[in-house]
Protein backbone atom coordinates (compact mmCIF):
# COMPACT_ATOMS: atom_id res chain seq x y z
CA UNK A 1 0.00 0.00 0.00
CA UNK A 2 1.43 3.32 -1.02
CA UNK A 3 -1.22 5.41 0.68
CA UNK A 4 -1.75 5.88 4.37
CA UNK A 5 -5.00 4.61 5.79
CA UNK A 6 -7.75 6.96 4.64
CA UNK A 7 -11.51 7.07 4.60
CA UNK A 8 -13.53 7.53 1.42
CA UNK A 9 -17.04 8.76 0.95
CA UNK A 10 -19.10 9.48 -2.16
CA UNK A 11 -21.79 11.99 -1.18
CA UNK A 12 -25.03 11.83 -3.12
CA UNK A 13 -25.53 15.59 -3.27
CA UNK A 14 -23.54 18.82 -3.23
CA UNK A 15 -25.14 19.75 0.11
CA UNK A 16 -23.96 16.47 1.60
CA UNK A 17 -20.43 17.10 0.29
CA UNK A 18 -20.39 20.63 1.76
CA UNK A 19 -21.63 19.24 5.08
CA UNK A 20 -18.73 16.79 5.29
CA UNK A 21 -16.20 19.42 4.20
CA UNK A 22 -17.56 21.84 6.83
CA UNK A 23 -17.51 19.35 9.68
CA UNK A 24 -14.15 17.68 9.14
CA UNK A 25 -10.87 19.60 8.95
CA UNK A 26 -9.22 16.50 7.51
CA UNK A 27 -11.66 16.17 4.62
CA UNK A 28 -10.37 16.78 1.10
CA UNK A 29 -12.43 16.89 -2.09
CA UNK A 30 -11.43 14.26 -4.67
CA UNK A 31 -12.34 15.06 -8.28
CA UNK A 32 -10.10 13.70 -11.05
CA UNK A 33 -7.37 12.83 -8.59
CA UNK A 34 -4.54 13.36 -11.10
CA UNK A 35 -2.54 15.34 -8.56
CA UNK A 36 -4.14 14.41 -5.25
CA UNK A 37 -3.49 10.69 -5.72
CA UNK A 38 0.25 11.35 -6.01
CA UNK A 39 0.13 13.70 -3.02
CA UNK A 40 -1.41 10.86 -1.02
CA UNK A 41 1.15 8.32 -2.29
CA UNK A 42 3.96 10.62 -1.26
CA UNK A 43 2.28 11.14 2.11
CA UNK A 44 3.00 14.85 1.98
CA UNK A 45 -0.52 15.84 3.05
CA UNK A 46 -2.60 14.44 5.84
CA UNK A 47 -6.11 13.61 4.71
CA UNK A 48 -8.63 11.83 6.94
CA UNK A 49 -11.42 11.43 4.45
CA UNK A 50 -11.56 11.74 0.68
CA UNK A 51 -14.84 13.26 -0.45
CA UNK A 52 -15.47 11.99 -3.98
CA UNK A 53 -17.24 14.85 -5.75
CA UNK A 54 -16.62 13.52 -9.26
CA UNK A 55 -20.13 12.18 -9.83
CA UNK A 56 -22.11 15.18 -8.56
CA UNK A 57 -24.41 16.56 -11.25
CA UNK A 58 -24.11 20.07 -9.77
CA UNK A 59 -20.39 20.11 -10.65
CA UNK A 60 -20.73 18.61 -14.13
CA UNK A 61 -21.34 20.01 -17.55
CA UNK A 62 -20.73 23.12 -19.59
CA UNK A 63 -23.56 25.61 -20.12
CA UNK A 64 -23.86 28.78 -22.17
CA UNK A 65 -24.73 31.77 -20.02
CA UNK A 66 -27.40 34.28 -21.05
CA UNK A 67 -24.74 36.81 -22.10
CA UNK A 68 -22.99 34.32 -24.38
CA UNK A 69 -20.29 33.25 -21.96
CA UNK A 70 -19.68 29.86 -20.39
CA UNK A 71 -20.46 28.29 -17.04
CA UNK A 72 -18.12 25.34 -16.60
CA UNK A 73 -18.70 22.83 -13.81
CA UNK A 74 -15.71 22.28 -11.55
CA UNK A 75 -15.56 18.57 -12.45
CA UNK A 76 -15.49 19.13 -16.21
CA UNK A 77 -12.40 17.33 -17.53
CA UNK A 78 -9.76 18.72 -19.88
CA UNK A 79 -10.97 16.28 -22.52
CA UNK A 80 -14.53 17.58 -22.17
CA UNK A 81 -13.26 21.16 -22.62
CA UNK A 82 -11.36 20.04 -25.72
CA UNK A 83 -14.41 18.34 -27.23
CA UNK A 84 -17.07 20.87 -26.24
CA UNK A 85 -18.66 22.57 -29.24
CA UNK A 86 -19.73 25.44 -26.95
CA UNK A 87 -16.18 26.00 -25.71
CA UNK A 88 -14.75 25.84 -29.22
CA UNK A 89 -17.36 28.31 -30.45
CA UNK A 90 -17.09 30.92 -27.70
CA UNK A 91 -13.52 30.48 -26.40
CA UNK A 92 -11.67 28.32 -28.91
CA UNK A 93 -8.33 28.79 -27.17
CA UNK A 94 -9.62 27.40 -23.87
CA UNK A 95 -10.44 24.12 -25.65
CA UNK A 96 -7.09 24.19 -27.42
CA UNK A 97 -5.07 24.74 -24.24
CA UNK A 98 -7.01 21.94 -22.53
CA UNK A 99 -6.24 19.67 -25.51
CA UNK A 100 -2.52 20.12 -24.88
CA UNK A 101 -2.37 19.32 -21.17
CA UNK A 102 0.03 16.42 -20.65
CA UNK A 103 -1.53 13.27 -22.13
CA UNK A 104 -4.86 11.64 -23.00
CA UNK A 105 -5.07 9.65 -19.76
CA UNK A 106 -4.70 12.79 -17.65
CA UNK A 107 -7.08 14.77 -19.90
CA UNK A 108 -9.73 12.08 -19.38
CA UNK A 109 -9.61 12.50 -15.59
CA UNK A 110 -8.12 15.89 -14.67
CA UNK A 111 -10.66 18.66 -14.06
CA UNK A 112 -10.75 22.43 -14.47
CA UNK A 113 -11.58 22.65 -10.77
CA UNK A 114 -8.58 20.60 -9.73
CA UNK A 115 -6.30 22.50 -12.11
CA UNK A 116 -7.31 25.75 -10.41
CA UNK A 117 -7.69 24.64 -6.78
CA UNK A 118 -4.28 22.96 -6.64
CA UNK A 119 -2.76 26.29 -7.68
CA UNK A 120 0.37 24.54 -8.91
CA UNK A 121 2.27 27.30 -10.75
CA UNK A 122 2.94 24.93 -13.67
CA UNK A 123 -0.78 24.35 -14.31
CA UNK A 124 -2.01 25.41 -17.73
CA UNK A 125 -5.43 26.90 -17.13
CA UNK A 126 -4.93 29.57 -14.41
CA UNK A 127 -3.09 32.17 -16.55
CA UNK A 128 -5.57 31.78 -19.40
CA UNK A 129 -8.57 32.09 -17.07
CA UNK A 130 -7.09 35.28 -15.61
CA UNK A 131 -6.57 36.68 -19.13
CA UNK A 132 -10.20 35.85 -19.95
CA UNK A 133 -11.50 37.60 -16.77
CA UNK A 134 -13.01 34.33 -15.55
CA UNK A 135 -14.86 34.25 -12.23
CA UNK A 136 -14.62 31.42 -9.72
CA UNK A 137 -17.92 30.43 -8.10
CA UNK A 138 -17.36 29.12 -4.56
CA UNK A 139 -19.89 27.50 -2.30
CA UNK A 140 -19.94 26.46 1.34
CA UNK A 141 -22.68 25.61 3.82
CA UNK A 142 -22.85 29.36 4.52
CA UNK A 143 -23.65 30.27 0.93
CA UNK A 144 -22.14 31.16 -2.41
CA UNK A 145 -19.64 33.83 -3.41
CA UNK A 146 -17.86 34.83 -6.60
CA UNK A 147 -14.13 35.56 -6.73
CA UNK A 148 -12.37 37.05 -9.75
CA UNK A 149 -9.80 34.60 -11.11
CA UNK A 150 -7.14 37.31 -10.69
CA UNK A 151 -7.84 37.24 -6.92
CA UNK A 152 -8.32 33.48 -6.59
CA UNK A 153 -4.72 32.30 -6.92
CA UNK A 154 -2.96 33.30 -3.70
CA UNK A 155 0.33 31.45 -3.81
CA UNK A 156 2.16 28.19 -4.24
CA UNK A 157 -0.63 25.61 -3.70
CA UNK A 158 -2.78 28.33 -2.08
CA UNK A 159 -6.09 29.82 -3.20
CA UNK A 160 -8.84 32.07 -1.87
CA UNK A 161 -10.85 28.99 -0.83
CA UNK A 162 -11.75 29.08 2.85
CA UNK A 163 -12.00 25.88 4.91
CA UNK A 164 -15.23 24.11 4.04
CA UNK A 165 -15.53 25.94 0.73
CA UNK A 166 -15.68 24.23 -2.64
CA UNK A 167 -15.16 25.57 -6.16
CA UNK A 168 -18.40 24.64 -7.95
CA UNK A 169 -17.98 26.29 -11.34
CA UNK A 170 -15.96 28.72 -13.41
CA UNK A 171 -17.79 31.48 -15.28
CA UNK A 172 -16.03 32.72 -18.39
CA UNK A 173 -17.50 35.95 -19.77
CA UNK A 174 -18.01 36.23 -23.51
CA UNK A 175 -15.08 37.50 -25.56
CA UNK A 176 -15.69 41.23 -26.16
CA UNK A 177 -16.49 42.16 -29.77
CA UNK A 178 -13.31 42.55 -31.78
CA UNK A 179 -11.17 40.62 -29.32
CA UNK A 180 -8.88 37.63 -29.57
CA UNK A 181 -6.73 35.58 -27.23
CA UNK A 182 -3.26 34.05 -27.40
CA UNK A 183 -1.24 31.61 -25.30
CA UNK A 184 2.39 30.54 -25.54
CA UNK A 185 4.58 28.30 -23.43
CA UNK A 186 8.31 27.72 -23.25
CA UNK A 187 8.62 23.99 -22.66
CA UNK A 188 10.99 21.14 -23.43
CA UNK A 189 8.88 18.71 -25.43
CA UNK A 190 5.33 19.00 -26.68
CA UNK A 191 2.60 19.45 -24.08
CA UNK A 192 5.17 19.37 -21.27
CA UNK A 193 5.33 21.52 -18.18
CA UNK A 194 6.33 25.07 -19.05
CA UNK A 195 9.21 27.15 -17.73
CA UNK A 196 7.49 30.39 -18.70
CA UNK A 197 4.04 31.04 -20.11
CA UNK A 198 2.10 34.03 -21.34
CA UNK A 199 -1.62 34.41 -21.96
CA UNK A 200 -3.03 37.48 -23.65
CA UNK A 201 -6.32 38.96 -24.72
CA UNK A 202 -6.63 42.07 -26.85
CA UNK A 203 -9.62 44.04 -28.07
CA UNK A 204 -9.05 45.91 -31.32
CA UNK A 205 -10.57 49.18 -32.42
CA UNK A 206 -9.60 49.32 -36.07
CA UNK A 207 -5.82 49.19 -36.17
CA UNK A 208 -5.45 50.11 -32.50
CA UNK A 209 -5.36 47.95 -29.38
CA UNK A 210 -8.20 49.35 -27.28
CA UNK A 211 -7.84 47.01 -24.32
CA UNK A 212 -5.50 44.21 -23.30
CA UNK A 213 -4.74 41.57 -20.72
CA UNK A 214 -1.23 40.17 -20.44
CA UNK A 215 -0.75 37.43 -17.88
CA UNK A 216 2.56 35.73 -17.10
CA UNK A 217 2.91 32.32 -15.48
CA UNK A 218 5.92 30.62 -13.87
CA UNK A 219 7.46 34.04 -13.33
CA UNK A 220 5.86 34.11 -9.88
CA UNK A 221 4.07 31.36 -7.95
CA UNK A 222 0.73 32.66 -9.23
CA UNK A 223 -0.33 34.07 -12.60
CA UNK A 224 0.52 37.80 -12.68
CA UNK A 225 -0.83 40.52 -14.93
CA UNK A 226 1.84 42.82 -16.30
CA UNK A 227 -0.26 45.95 -16.03
CA UNK A 228 2.68 48.16 -17.12
CA UNK A 229 2.91 46.27 -20.39
CA UNK A 230 -0.87 46.36 -20.77
CA UNK A 231 -0.74 50.17 -20.40
CA UNK A 232 1.90 50.35 -23.15
CA UNK A 233 -0.19 48.12 -25.43
CA UNK A 234 -3.46 49.99 -24.84
CA UNK A 235 -3.95 52.75 -27.36
CA UNK A 236 -0.98 51.55 -29.41
CA UNK A 237 -0.93 50.21 -32.95
CA UNK A 238 -1.79 46.55 -33.42
CA UNK A 239 1.35 46.01 -35.49
CA UNK A 240 4.19 43.55 -34.93
CA UNK A 241 6.61 46.44 -34.34
CA UNK A 242 4.39 48.22 -31.86
CA UNK A 243 3.58 44.99 -29.96
CA UNK A 244 7.28 44.09 -29.85
CA UNK A 245 8.14 47.53 -28.48
CA UNK A 246 5.45 47.28 -25.79
CA UNK A 247 6.61 43.78 -24.81
CA UNK A 248 10.32 44.69 -24.66
CA UNK A 249 9.82 45.84 -21.07
CA UNK A 250 7.73 42.87 -19.92
CA UNK A 251 8.64 41.62 -16.43
CA UNK A 252 11.20 44.41 -15.96
CA UNK A 253 9.64 45.43 -12.66
CA UNK A 254 9.40 41.84 -11.43
CA UNK A 255 11.80 39.47 -9.73
CA UNK A 256 11.06 36.22 -11.57
CA UNK A 257 11.51 33.01 -9.60
CA UNK A 258 14.71 31.02 -10.10
CA UNK A 259 14.80 27.23 -9.94
CA UNK A 260 16.43 24.23 -11.56
CA UNK A 261 14.59 25.00 -14.82
CA UNK A 262 15.89 28.53 -15.24
CA UNK A 263 17.43 31.55 -13.58
CA UNK A 264 15.51 34.68 -12.76
CA UNK A 265 17.17 36.60 -15.60
CA UNK A 266 16.52 33.81 -18.12
CA UNK A 267 12.85 33.79 -17.16
CA UNK A 268 12.66 37.58 -17.51
CA UNK A 269 14.08 37.43 -21.04
CA UNK A 270 11.86 34.52 -22.05
CA UNK A 271 8.81 36.24 -20.55
CA UNK A 272 9.33 39.07 -23.04
CA UNK A 273 9.43 36.60 -25.94
CA UNK A 274 6.41 34.60 -24.74
CA UNK A 275 4.47 37.83 -24.12
CA UNK A 276 5.21 39.20 -27.57
CA UNK A 277 4.13 35.95 -29.23
CA UNK A 278 0.97 35.64 -27.11
CA UNK A 279 -0.09 39.23 -27.84
CA UNK A 280 0.65 38.78 -31.56
CA UNK A 281 -1.46 35.63 -31.57
CA UNK A 282 -4.26 37.50 -29.82
CA UNK A 283 -4.10 40.31 -32.39
CA UNK A 284 -4.23 37.81 -35.26
CA UNK A 285 -7.13 36.01 -33.61
CA UNK A 286 -9.00 39.28 -33.10
CA UNK A 287 -8.61 39.98 -36.81
CA UNK A 288 -9.81 36.49 -37.72
CA UNK A 289 -13.28 35.18 -37.22
CA UNK A 290 -12.54 32.58 -34.60
CA UNK A 291 -12.92 33.58 -30.96
CA UNK A 292 -9.79 33.25 -28.94
CA UNK A 293 -8.01 31.32 -31.64
CA UNK A 294 -4.33 30.96 -32.14
CA UNK A 295 -2.97 32.61 -35.23
CA UNK A 296 -2.95 30.30 -38.19
CA UNK A 297 -5.11 27.61 -36.62
CA UNK A 298 -3.48 24.58 -35.02
Amino acid sequence: MLLEQVEYVRPQSLDEALEILANDDGAAPLAGGQSLTNVLKNRVASVDVLVDISRLDDLAGIARTADGGLSIGACVTYDELDRSADVRQTHWLLGEVAAHIEDQQIRNKGTIGGNCCLSDPTNNLPPLLVALDAVMELRSRAGQRSVASADFFKGYFATALEPGELLVSVTVPPMPAGSGAGYTSLAVGADAKAMVRAAARVTLDGGTIADSRLVLARVAHVPVRDTDAEARLNGGDATEESVAAACAGVADGMQPIADVHGSSEYRRQMAKVMARRAVSQAVAAARGSRNGSKAGGN
Binding site: L2, Q5, E7, Y8, T37, L50, Q105, I106
Partner: protein
Amino acid sequence: MGERGTSHAVTVEVNGEKVSRIVAARQLLVHFLRDTLGLTGTHIGCDTGNCGACSVIVNGKLVKSCMILAPQVDGATIETVEGLADGDSLSPLQESFHEHHALQCGYCTPGMLMSATYLLRQNPDPTDEEIRRGIRGNICRCTGYVNIVKAIRAASREQASGGRPVPAAAGEEV
Protein backbone atom coordinates in the same frame (compact mmCIF):
# COMPACT_ATOMS: atom_id res chain seq x y z
CA MET B 1 -25.95 9.62 2.34
CA GLY B 2 -22.83 8.04 0.87
CA GLU B 3 -21.20 5.43 3.06
CA ARG B 4 -18.04 6.63 4.76
CA GLY B 5 -15.25 4.28 5.71
CA THR B 6 -11.82 2.80 5.17
CA SER B 7 -13.24 -0.11 3.18
CA HIS B 8 -15.92 -0.23 0.54
CA ALA B 9 -17.89 -2.73 -1.46
CA VAL B 10 -17.04 -2.38 -5.13
CA THR B 11 -18.81 -4.01 -8.06
CA VAL B 12 -17.27 -3.67 -11.50
CA GLU B 13 -17.44 -5.37 -14.86
CA VAL B 14 -13.94 -6.32 -15.96
CA ASN B 15 -13.50 -7.59 -19.51
CA GLY B 16 -17.16 -8.58 -19.58
CA GLU B 17 -17.17 -10.34 -16.22
CA LYS B 18 -18.98 -8.87 -13.22
CA VAL B 19 -16.99 -9.01 -9.97
CA SER B 20 -17.67 -7.73 -6.45
CA ARG B 21 -15.05 -7.28 -3.76
CA ILE B 22 -14.50 -5.39 -0.53
CA VAL B 23 -11.59 -3.00 -1.09
CA ALA B 24 -9.56 -0.70 1.11
CA ALA B 25 -10.29 2.96 0.39
CA ARG B 26 -6.57 3.49 -0.13
CA GLN B 27 -6.14 0.68 -2.66
CA LEU B 28 -5.13 1.86 -6.13
CA LEU B 29 -7.08 0.51 -9.08
CA VAL B 30 -3.90 -1.05 -10.50
CA HIS B 31 -3.41 -3.05 -7.28
CA PHE B 32 -7.07 -4.03 -7.31
CA LEU B 33 -6.66 -5.39 -10.85
CA ARG B 34 -3.31 -7.10 -10.27
CA ASP B 35 -3.43 -8.27 -6.66
CA THR B 36 -7.13 -8.67 -5.91
CA LEU B 37 -8.33 -9.91 -9.30
CA GLY B 38 -5.05 -11.48 -10.49
CA LEU B 39 -5.08 -9.59 -13.79
CA THR B 40 -1.32 -9.03 -13.97
CA GLY B 41 -1.29 -7.99 -17.62
CA THR B 42 -1.67 -4.39 -16.45
CA HIS B 43 1.84 -3.36 -15.44
CA ILE B 44 3.20 -0.98 -12.81
CA GLY B 45 6.14 0.99 -14.14
CA CYS B 46 6.46 4.08 -12.01
CA ASP B 47 3.65 4.35 -9.44
CA THR B 48 3.51 8.10 -10.12
CA GLY B 49 1.33 8.46 -13.20
CA ASN B 50 4.22 9.16 -15.53
CA CYS B 51 4.83 5.96 -17.50
CA GLY B 52 1.38 4.79 -18.61
CA ALA B 53 2.20 1.05 -18.29
CA CYS B 54 -0.91 0.71 -16.10
CA SER B 55 -3.29 2.28 -18.65
CA VAL B 56 -6.73 0.70 -18.78
CA ILE B 57 -10.09 1.81 -20.15
CA VAL B 58 -12.76 2.72 -17.57
CA ASN B 59 -16.26 3.50 -18.82
CA GLY B 60 -14.83 4.01 -22.30
CA LYS B 61 -12.12 6.44 -21.12
CA LEU B 62 -8.40 5.72 -21.18
CA VAL B 63 -6.94 6.26 -17.71
CA LYS B 64 -3.84 5.39 -15.68
CA SER B 65 -4.94 2.87 -13.08
CA CYS B 66 -2.26 3.97 -10.61
CA MET B 67 -3.92 7.41 -10.48
CA ILE B 68 -7.34 6.15 -9.39
CA LEU B 69 -8.49 4.57 -6.13
CA ALA B 70 -10.41 1.32 -6.30
CA PRO B 71 -13.59 2.67 -4.61
CA GLN B 72 -13.79 5.37 -7.28
CA VAL B 73 -14.60 2.82 -10.00
CA ASP B 74 -17.59 1.23 -8.25
CA GLY B 75 -20.17 0.46 -10.93
CA ALA B 76 -17.71 0.94 -13.79
CA THR B 77 -16.99 -1.12 -16.87
CA ILE B 78 -13.26 -1.79 -17.10
CA GLU B 79 -11.21 -3.06 -20.02
CA THR B 80 -7.69 -4.35 -19.50
CA VAL B 81 -5.13 -5.82 -21.89
CA GLU B 82 -6.43 -9.32 -21.05
CA GLY B 83 -9.69 -8.40 -22.76
CA LEU B 84 -8.17 -7.48 -26.12
CA ALA B 85 -7.65 -10.97 -27.52
CA ASP B 86 -10.58 -13.21 -28.32
CA GLY B 87 -9.34 -16.51 -26.91
CA ASP B 88 -6.16 -17.31 -28.82
CA SER B 89 -7.03 -14.83 -31.53
CA LEU B 90 -5.07 -11.60 -31.07
CA SER B 91 -6.73 -8.24 -31.68
CA PRO B 92 -5.68 -6.50 -34.92
CA LEU B 93 -3.53 -4.13 -32.88
CA GLN B 94 -1.85 -6.96 -31.02
CA GLU B 95 -1.17 -8.73 -34.33
CA SER B 96 0.20 -5.52 -35.78
CA PHE B 97 2.49 -4.99 -32.76
CA HIS B 98 3.76 -8.55 -33.33
CA GLU B 99 4.27 -8.09 -37.07
CA HIS B 100 6.05 -4.74 -36.77
CA HIS B 101 8.27 -5.71 -33.85
CA ALA B 102 6.63 -2.99 -31.77
CA LEU B 103 7.92 -4.44 -28.53
CA GLN B 104 11.37 -5.19 -27.24
CA CYS B 105 11.24 -5.92 -23.51
CA GLY B 106 7.45 -5.72 -23.64
CA TYR B 107 6.98 -3.98 -20.31
CA CYS B 108 5.19 -0.95 -21.72
CA THR B 109 3.19 -3.01 -24.22
CA PRO B 110 -0.04 -3.51 -22.24
CA GLY B 111 -0.36 0.25 -21.71
CA MET B 112 0.63 1.01 -25.30
CA LEU B 113 -2.03 -1.40 -26.56
CA MET B 114 -4.74 0.17 -24.40
CA SER B 115 -3.77 3.70 -25.48
CA ALA B 116 -3.70 2.64 -29.13
CA THR B 117 -7.05 0.83 -28.79
CA TYR B 118 -8.56 4.02 -27.31
CA LEU B 119 -6.97 6.19 -30.00
CA LEU B 120 -8.31 4.10 -32.89
CA ARG B 121 -11.81 4.11 -31.40
CA GLN B 122 -11.73 7.90 -31.19
CA ASN B 123 -9.91 8.43 -34.44
CA PRO B 124 -9.89 5.43 -36.82
CA ASP B 125 -7.53 7.11 -39.30
CA PRO B 126 -4.95 9.05 -37.28
CA THR B 127 -1.97 10.87 -38.75
CA ASP B 128 1.48 9.96 -37.44
CA GLU B 129 1.39 13.11 -35.30
CA GLU B 130 -1.98 12.10 -33.87
CA ILE B 131 -0.60 8.63 -33.12
CA ARG B 132 2.40 10.13 -31.33
CA ARG B 133 0.14 12.42 -29.31
CA GLY B 134 -2.14 9.45 -28.60
CA ILE B 135 0.72 7.56 -26.91
CA ARG B 136 2.17 10.70 -25.29
CA GLY B 137 1.27 9.28 -21.88
CA ASN B 138 3.09 6.00 -22.44
CA ILE B 139 6.83 5.67 -22.01
CA CYS B 140 8.85 2.95 -23.75
CA ARG B 141 12.26 2.78 -22.07
CA CYS B 142 13.59 0.63 -24.92
CA THR B 143 12.70 3.76 -26.95
CA GLY B 144 11.05 1.62 -29.61
CA TYR B 145 8.58 4.31 -30.53
CA VAL B 146 9.16 4.17 -34.30
CA ASN B 147 7.91 0.61 -34.58
CA ILE B 148 5.06 1.25 -32.16
CA VAL B 149 3.84 4.14 -34.33
CA LYS B 150 4.26 1.93 -37.43
CA ALA B 151 2.21 -0.84 -35.85
CA ILE B 152 -0.62 1.49 -34.88
CA ARG B 153 -0.62 3.08 -38.34
CA ALA B 154 -0.72 -0.34 -40.01
CA ALA B 155 -3.60 -1.49 -37.78
CA SER B 156 -5.57 1.64 -38.65
CA ARG B 157 -4.96 1.05 -42.37
CA GLU B 158 -5.98 -2.58 -42.13
CA GLN B 159 -9.16 -1.50 -40.41
CA ALA B 160 -9.80 1.12 -43.13
CA SER B 161 -9.26 -1.43 -45.90
CA GLY B 162 -11.96 -3.67 -44.50
CA GLY B 163 -9.85 -5.81 -42.23
CA ARG B 164 -10.92 -6.61 -38.73
CA PRO B 165 -11.89 -3.45 -36.86
CA VAL B 166 -10.60 -2.54 -33.43
CA PRO B 167 -13.23 -3.93 -31.05
CA ALA B 168 -15.82 -1.40 -29.97
CA ALA B 169 -15.91 -0.19 -26.39
CA ALA B 170 -17.55 -2.56 -23.94
CA GLY B 171 -21.28 -2.03 -23.87
CA GLU B 172 -21.31 -0.21 -27.23
CA GLU B 173 -23.38 -1.39 -30.15
CA VAL B 174 -21.12 -3.07 -32.68
